[in-house]
């Protein structure tokens, strides 16, 4: 507590509140706007913040239903938003599982075993992670183009190829999980080993159950990372029914075909679940990372 309060103190508090409220308004504005736009009829911006006429037409389209327009014609959904959402969730879930599997086993070796080149391998993993995938897009495209010549399942425009492309991004996760493993005393597994457990049994039956919280955190991080990933998905996917949400949402806003209202509904529909996951992950992340990663 400040000891002496001079006369300007009260004014400073009021000014601070005014600044903060103004800023909060600026921050909230886009969210309220997009909600309002999604409820207005037509793909125009005309109208006030609180729409004087509420129409659910954009929501119907976003959910995949057609509706009868003012001229009596049936308006078809412009894009399969729910399919895109499903694609995103499918790819993100599978790639997150794959990444957790890959990084957990690697982190176990880094945390508990001695082998040559360990510290170099750890630093290399960190350094490699700093290179953005955007820069290797040409190569990623070329590689999957050629794989597709032989195995179409893993070629361009397939979700399996996207899974593989994401699987390499485990460096940071290895660090996180390793940091958590380091906080669990190795004596617990050693006791299991004395009782006759093999290293794999000690890992699977003793260490893993204790590491569930950090595995959840890593799963969420990987999941969100895959949901919001845009560059690689935009290069690998091309057919409309294969797109993920991040790639597909863009199609709403072409200068010649500006489906502003439809986009607004689709953005809220798809943004809400992701945002909830994101907020959840933030909470978990803070506790998980402070428990593990920082100490790496």
């Amino acid at each position: 507590m400040a000891i002496v309060l001079d006369k300007s103190h009260r004014w400073r508090v009021v000014a601070a509140h005014a600044c903060l409220i103004a800023l909060v308004c600026v921050v909230i504005f886009p969210f309220l706007m997009i909600l309002s736009i999604s409820l207005r009829p037509g793909n125009f911006a005309s109208g006030s913040l609180i729409p004087d006429q509420i129409s659910l037409e954009h929501w119907k389209l976003a959910l995949g239903f057609s509706y009868e327009g003012p001229d009596g014609k049936l308006v078809q959904p412009p894009f399969p938003v729910l399919l895109w959402l499903w694609n995103s969730i499918k790819v993100a879930t599978l790639s997150a599982i794959l990444m957790v599997l890959l990084s957990t086993t690697a982190a176990y070796a880094f945390a508990r075993m001695k082998f040559r080149g360990k510290s170099q391998a750890l630093s290399a993993l960190m350094l490699i992670q700093m290179f953005p995938a955007v820069l290797a897009l040409v190569a990623i495209y070329a590689i999957f183009d050629r794989i597709g010549n032989v195995f179409p399942l893993f070629g361009l425009d397939s979700h399996a190829s996207l899974l593989l492309a994401y699987a390499g991004g485990i460096g940071l996760h290895v660090w996180t999980i390793k940091g958590y493993f380091d906080t669990i005393p190795a004596e617990i597994e050693e006791a299991a080993k004395v009782d006759g457990a093999s290293p794999f049994q000690a890992f699977r039956l003793v260490l893993l159950p204790m590491a569930v919280p950090i595995l959840m955190v890593v799963f969420l991080l990987a999941f969100i990372g895959a949901i919001i990933e845009y560059p690689v998905a935009s290069v690998l996917l091309s057919e409309e029914r294969n797109l993920t949400l991040a790639v597909g949402s863009r199609l709403f806003l072409y200068e010649q075909r500006f489906l502003w209202g439809d986009f607004a509904a689709a953005a809220i529909l798809s943004g809400l679940p992701i945002t909830v996951v994101f907020i959840l992950a933030q909470k978990w992340m803070v506790s998980g990372l402070t428990a593990g990663g920082i100490k790496g």
Partner: protein, 520 residues
């Protein structure tokens, strides 16, 4: 685990391992047979390493490391190395194929030869199609087995169409095997039909030569022993030129499609010395640095300011403010960016509606370079400050309170407190984060691509480049968007950017180490 199951395990694992090894060898053979030598080699090396790691007791730790490390090596390191190699080739839409494939393409080319022609109709029964050929005199008809026909998707490259071979059987001229399709459908299915060669019972081969006609066709090119190709129709000789990556006529004209060759440092020379190219490159580089630098400056400035405000004890409702101000970070980036793209829209956007109502102005956010850059900075600051705010609040909490008490006793005001105590103590641990944020924004492809896509374009440059393009989005445009996709050039630029990012990472590591040492 009891005795019998461990006895089972003794032979189950080797059996599974052998089966896996055999299966992967089979795969390698298939891939090799398909002509993808590099891919086959990679798979072989990975499988061999896996076999070694999982059988040798010396590499026990690597049994756990192998899957992860292999994934990083194949899907992160390999693309990086491959990018660098592509930078030295002329890989582009004009030079898409390997030399052998290009040669094969020319040898597949055909022309209409002299000989008997047949009228044809495409019969449809449900989803299945058959071709019926009739002799001009109408005496005899032939029917093919069911074909797989589909209208081509736009993505399929013409050079990739595979030729298919079917044998036709003699049939009665009026044999009903479905309805004949109208000409409109024929036009739609023409590309798929052209891929078929029909062999008639007398051994002659015919192909589609017109919308109503099948006729004999002959190979257009013949390969000589010295590697040159002879055009059977005109007698012209094509010679492969391994510097240009094209087959060339005697007069030196390129005949597409070209093939991939190594062109050494040409692209790098182009980036750094060719004036038509260097000039936009330098401008874009300048904007990239300015964009990343200013973003970090604004986002960190606003973030620190808010953190200081929200750490002020006299302020009430801190939690509410903090939650609301953190919102931009919680919404996925691609959605917020697209929302702003709409809000800033010149005609439909709410921001211009409000500005128009209040001040009577309608700024052209997307067509004026300066305004476009301003918009990008506004949006990115909006996206970036919450992270800085939260981190700084954590750092401020760690500052001992007696420092402020001492300064209050000495009669210092809030400004002195901020500049003499808070800033120096916060800025030092924040430095590595600021560098990381700079590096991130240096490559912030998603923002530029979704918001402006680099536009408005420069009007005075020969290569397509935008005033708001940063290096990575510029590279993406060269590689994937503008006509004549130039993968080689894009890869060369990527390589240059790689070097810059590596430098940044190195500086960041140093900065992290310095702050860590000082903390001790």
């Amino acid at each position: 685990m009891n005795q019998s199951s461990s006895g089972m395990q003794r032979w189950v694992w080797p059996a599974v391992a052998t089966a896996l090894a055999l299966a992967s060898l089979y795969f390698v053979t298939i891939v090799y047979a398909a002509g993808e030598f590099l891919l086959a080699g990679t798979i072989l090396v990975v499988v061999a390493l896996a076999a070694w790691v999982y059988t040798s007791p010396r590499f026990y730790a690597w049994r756990y490391l192998f899957p992860g490390v292999a994934a990083v090596a194949i899907f992160v390191v390999l693309p990086i190395l491959y990018t660098v190699t592509i930078g030295f080739t002329n890989y582009s839409t004009n030079n898409l194929l390997k030399f052998e494939r290009t040669t094969a393409y020319f040898l597949e080319e055909t022309y209409e030869a002299e000989g008997k022609t047949y009228g044809f109709a495409l019969l449809q029964q449900g989803q299945r199609h058959r071709i019926r050929l009739t002799e001009s005199e109408g005496e005899q008809a032939f029917l093919t087995p069911e074909l797989e026909l589909s209208a081509p998707s736009e993505a399929a490259a013409p050079a990739k169409a595979e030729h298919k071979h079917v044998k036709a059987q003699a049939a009665a001229a009026d044999a009903g095997a479905g309805e004949a399709l109208p000409i409109k459908e024929l036009i739609r299915l023409q590309p798929a039909l052209k891929a078929y060669t029909v062999e008639l019972p007398d051994g002659s081969q015919v192909r589609m030569t017109g919308l109503r006609q099948f006729g004999p066709v002959a190979k257009l090119y013949k390969k000589n022993d010295d590697g040159t190709l002879v055009n059977q129709q005109t007698g012209e000789v094509l010679k492969p030129n391994f510097e240009a990556g094209f087959y060339q006529t005697a007069s030196g004209q390129n005949v597409p499609p070209g093939f991939q060759v190594n062109i050494g440092l040409t692209h790098f020379k182009q980036i750094f010395t060719d004036a038509a190219f260097r000039e936009p490159f330098l401008r874009i580089f300048g904007w990239t640095v300015a964009f990343a630098g200013l973003t970090v400056l604004f986002a960190a400035g606003l973030g620190i300011l808010l953190a200081v405000l929200l750490s002020w004890e006299a302020l009430r409702f801190k939690g509410v403010y903090q939650t609301l101000l953190f919102l931009p970070y919680a919404v996925p980036g691609f959605i917020s960016i697209l929302v702003f793209k709409g809000l800033f829209n010149n005609n439909f956007g709410e921001i211009n509606l409000i500005l128009d109502a209040l001040f009577g102005v309608k700024p052209a956010w997307f067509s004026d370079p300066l305004l476009a850059k301003t918009m990008i900075l506004i949006v990115n600051t909006w996206l970036g400050y919450p992270y800085m705010m939260v981190v700084t609040m954590g750092l401020i909490k760690a500052i001992p309170a007696d420092l402020y008490e001492a300064s209050a006793v000495a009669g210092a005001g809030p400004l002195t407190n901020f500049f003499r105590i808070t800033m120096p103590l916060v800025l030092k641990p924040l430095t590595p984060l600021l560098i990381a944020a700079f590096a991130f924004n240096f490559n912030n492809f998603v923002l530029i691509s979704l918001l402006t896509n680099g536009r408005p374009d420069f009007l005075d440059t020969q290569v397509p480049a935008g005033t708001t393009d940063i290096l990575v989005s510029y590279t993406y445009r060269i590689a994937f968007e503008d006509s004549g996709q130039n993968f080689g050039l894009a890869a060369a630029i990527s390589t240059v950017v790689f070097a810059m990012v590596a430098l940044l990472s190195w500086i960041n590591l140093r900065a992290t180490r310095i702050t860590k040492e000082e903390a001790r």
